[in-house]
Symmetry: C2
Subunit: 451 residues, 2 copies
């Protein structure tokens, strides 16, 4: 065991400074969710694999972390089962449980399981880690937090308006300038109809979704591979390239999709939502190329881009008409968003947006000059804490230099010293670690000096 | 999938009310930890099994949740390896990672891995879930939170004093009357020496630790089975039964352990700590029968019992002289405590100690009488939120009865109504859901009315 211990690849330890910054982000999101009337829930890290499997596509199934059954985990493996090499089936025999892959499927499971207790519409938020056996790379981890808010049990587009306001408020409070992109799956369906490829709607959205990453030529090439004709691709070009105000885009699309009932419905929805967003600090932009990869979206979709940093989307979401249907409870519409805490963390760091106060935790350190002197300090220490001020005493009577190094490393702004002299005089020396100034004071005015 | 989905046995969903209560407990503990200068860290849910195995005894190894390797998990299994039925060895071939079992071993791993970045003494706190494949039963779960604080890198007994103050402050803030029991492993070693059974110290502590559960006769029977003679057991009786003040117990033990160097050392330590605890609200009691099961404690040990509820200990801890030694970093002493959040949750419920305000989240609900009326309410809704007051609009123009039911179920104290009349008059009707009173007001005074 002389080797330095390590953690699994793709996972992270968070030290005090990182925690202070992460908590700042989580608390900001949590406060806004609460301000908008969302209620918190938490679900177990482990779900039954029957709940998770088949919900994230074939690729997603492979990325689930599976938990070996306790005790005799071979009990369900038939003789010879291990030889076959069919790891998929064998995994199902060895494992009943897996770690949650996102917060959406556990939420759908929660709603179905607790339906009798819930007052619909149910506005819930959930901030918990999820796990994916992805290949780790820069900015992609095997354990990361999601911060989701969803409204389930209401078709009203006011929910979409609310979610846009939440995104605007959160990023406003964090100080990140953003563009909130909005689109609607029904408009995309209308476009697919328009070019005579209604059956290819999924392929088209998947291809268009990559515009940011692979550029227009890349998208067109992918559409070709999906079997679209050159004429169909050509008819998509003006839509993909469309510029102008939200109103102009809607007007243009009203005409282009004149024949498509679903397309008009999508435009109605987007127009309703955009008209009610009102005066917000963020840009709110109708982006007809926004598609979002996930199958289950059926109405409005959202994505947030930071304006001042090159990075993928930092928040996303949309409406899904039938998420709980997979658990036998059809007809419940939902709409939600998910803040990407890890990317927001990176953006905040690059833009230097963390409040300075986050670096400081303890306000006052009592130095330790020996047992007698420490005993003199203890009642003062308690007095400071009773006033709500975070304080410590250095526990050992170590060399002064070492104690001062500790105060500096911890960025503690005030140090209190009581040596033989101070104890005799019933006083204390208070040093301001920022200015370097120090003064000898009566303990009675210590609290005053710290404020 | 028509069957209602479920969660793995021993795990729990937490709904909004439970979350509000749990957060109240966690936040109280967190605030006190911060007040005492402790810094937060988080470690990954998954640790390498090489870090976890062998740290919790043979039984503990069996209770670790192991995670099936991703991809071809059979790659390390030799031909025929699956037939042998040696599930222990096979598990090691199928799994490299496991879920953390407590926060102490990951903390020790963290300290060793990050030693260069840390300013010692390191005061850390950590509030995260842990997982154990225990047989689920009332009050025992397979996923539960631990709330730990430890100081590592300091031998000073002032740390013990600080931890007692933390326990006193937390339970004071929560309103739970407690007895903080203190003992010292060195005293127990002295006692074992005294009766001529120094080699049986572990057996003796394990037996004495069960006094609460199995009574004096049960303890004596277990000591007999451990091989202690009747004479040895007889000599233990006055110690186990000792009553009186802390000072009296110390004085009695000073004499009884006059020949034991380690025993005197333990008494010195306990006397130092108890003399410095000073004036606290909790009972602080030297309990010579307190042993704590865990092997790694070497000095002071603590346990907290609620005075007004029959339940096991709700917090525990102690000093361990060599926790990081298992990871190749010897000589680092630590001392820590762990609050048992689940038991505290139960105690708070039984004693009805949760603040009433926890039941309320949203303060104001705007009812929805249709599109036009809702549009009239939206700017008011934003105004209320800008003032920091949590508010919602019912998203659908459902029947009034349904909307009022929602307000009641959510325990929302105020409801705002704007029908055709109010919209025309530029007013709003505000209803106090507690008193039932309602009045029509100008929107300008809405905020005032809510305060």
């Amino acid at each position: 065991m002389a080797q330095k211990p390590s953690i699994p690849k793709g996972t992270r330890d968070f030290g005090p400074q990182e925690m202070a910054r992460r908590n700042y982000i989580f608390n900001t999101i949590r406060e806004v969710y609460k301000l908008y009337g969302f209620q918190q829930i938490e679900t177990p890290a482990m779900e039954n694999l029957s709940v998770l499997m088949g919900k994230y596509g074939e690729e997603g199934d492979k990325l689930l972390f599976k938990i070996l059954n306790s005790g005799d985990f071979l009990r369900d493996v038939p003789a010879g089962g291990l030889q076959e090499g069919a790891t998929g089936r064998l995994a199902a025999q060895l494992c009943e449980k897996g770690l949650r892959y996102d917060l959406t499927v556990p939420f759908a499971r929660y709603v179905v399981q607790h339906r009798e207790e819930l007052s619909l519409p149910f506005r819930r938020y959930q901030i918990q880690p999820v796990w994916r056996a992805d290949r780790p790379q820069k900015g992609r981890y095997r354990e990361f937090y999601q911060c989701d808010a969803d409204v389930v049990g209401s078709d009203s587009l006011l929910n979409e308006v609310e979610l846009i306001h939440i995104m605007d408020t959160v990023f406003g409070r964090l100080g990140i300038r953003v563009c909130i992109k909005v689109n609607n799956r029904k408009i995309l369906s209308g476009i697919a109809e328009l070019i005579g490829a209604a059956d290819k709607i999924v392929d088209i959205t998947v291809a268009i979704d990559k515009l940011d990453k692979i550029g227009l030529e890349g998208v067109n090439e992918e559409l070709r591979q999906d079997g679209l004709t050159e004429e169909q691709i050509a008819r998509l070009q003006p839509i993909i390239a469309m510029e102008g105000s939200n109103e102009q885009k809607i007007a243009t699309m009203r005409e282009a999709l004149a024949q498509s009932e679903v397309g008009q419905k999508g435009l109605d929805e987007v127009a309703f939502v955009l008209a009610r967003v009102g005066d917000v600090a963020s840009q709110v932009q109708l982006d007809l190329t926004l598609a979002r990869g996930l199958d289950y979206y059926t109405g409005c979709i959202f994505e947030v881009k930071a304006l001042d940093v090159q990075i993928g989307s930092i928040t996303g979401g949309g409406r899904y008409d039938n998420l709980t249907g997979i658990f036998g409870m059809p007809g419940l519409s939902g709409v939600g968003i998910s803040f990407g805490a890890d990317r927001i963390y990176d953006v905040m760091g690059q833009l230097n947006l963390y409040p300075e106060a986050l670096a400081t935790s303890t306000q006052l350190l009592f130095l330790n000059f020996g047992e007698l002197e420490a005993d003199y300090c203890l009642p003062l220490l308690h007095q400071v804490r009773r006033a709500g001020i975070s304080a410590e005493i250095y526990p050992d009577s170590a060399k002064l230099k070492k104690q001062m190094q500790y105060a500096n490393a911890r960025m503690i702004p005030f140090v209190a010293m009581a040596g033989e002299d101070e104890v005799k005089a019933g006083e204390i020396t208070l040093k301001n670690m920022v200015t370097g100034q120090q003064e000898r004071i009566k303990p009675e005015i210590l609290l005053e000096k710290l404020k």
